[in-house]
Symmetry: D2
Subunit: 118 residues, 4 copies
């Protein structure tokens, strides 16, 4: 009961080191959690489909096209998660001190750089 009360907006956006083992923090993507899980299960199915294509000796460019389609789906998930995080954990529910907020924005910038491979 108190645990639920403790999971307030602010704790939802605490970075991992400060989240206790007992109460699980809510995350910025919490409201879309089921949707992300659904998309990831579809992507898992696409990866199994790729294995089937290789086992069935399908024409290589067709396999590569399916690989590319799977990476697109994954990157859609990444952009979605990052936007949710920006909205709920950097802009809205973030910490009060500017220092913390700057640190989080730096983390987001580093993540964007990974996504565009810099």
């Amino acid at each position: 009961m108190t645990a639920v009360v403790n999971v307030n907006r602010d704790s939802a956006c605490n970075p991992p080191l400060r989240s206790s083992a007992v109460e699980r923090p809510m995350r910025g993507y919490a409201s879309g959690k089921e949707d992300y899980l659904l998309r990831l299960r579809k992507i898992e199915g696409q990866v199994r489909g790729l294995q089937r294509m290789i086992q069935e000796d399908r024409w290589c460019p067709h396999v590569v096209t399916q690989v590319t389609s799977t990476t697109h789906a994954l990157q859609e998930v990444a952009v979605g998660l990052l936007t949710d995080h920006l909205r709920h954990c950097v802009i809205d529910g973030g910490p009060s001190s500017n220092g913390d907020r700057d640190g989080r924005l730096d983390e987001v910038a580093a993540t964007i750089r990974q996504m565009v491979r810099l």
Copy 2:
């Protein structure tokens, strides 16, 4: 027995429309087939790991980093498949007529454009 004999280098590189339903053609990636399957099974495991991270409410930038690592692994597979295809089906074992070879190179170019998102 004869089936094996029929699967010669040339038929290995016939595009899908011309491969018969009876004998399964070998592909440019044939020699590395087990390696590709192994890598794709690992990637499938990574995608399941992503689902676990979402279910366990992990810190969003960490999830995105793992998504990015999974897309990298997929793109390594794509580049590998494409290189095998170039080696065995466009350069080496390709058709004798220049027209066919040009068509295959156009197909490869289109696939590279997909990979770099153009």
Copy 3:
């Protein structure tokens, strides 16, 4: 004189339609403006270098490597601009209403999607 006073933090982050022709708004990247101009001049030099390589009939894979290095430099500029914008125009100096902030975040998300080619 008053013009300078009018260019306060808030007007700095007004989207283009609301910026008057008379006073030029400051932007999120204002403090790094000279640095961005310097980097873009270097990139302009790289593009002229590419023209020279083509004119001098340089070995194709070397030209492609230089093209790739130029696109990296451009994408570094894009990520830098976007981070400055997030810091100064979405998080800090943004509008007071949540509706406006949501619109800006959607715009940023759309821009990230363009950068990763989705």
Copy 4:
């Protein structure tokens, strides 16, 4: 006169170390050279346009969109050059020994990996 004769198809595809300083080799992209130069001049203009946008304090997401459009144009050039190279220097006009051809294909694969940032 003899110089022109010496620039035959085979020497056109010699890697840089073997091209003499006297006779300039033709390259795989030779037939499209003017087109590539035209496209690169346009891209140079786009990069100057980006500098103008920064100088005029344009709205950041609009600048980023133009940066992205410029990187797309550069990557189109890269894919074009690579395809020409594959056609004329790896498949057609390449060296007779399989060893050389393998080396060139490895070089192309490495270049594709750079393009997709692996």
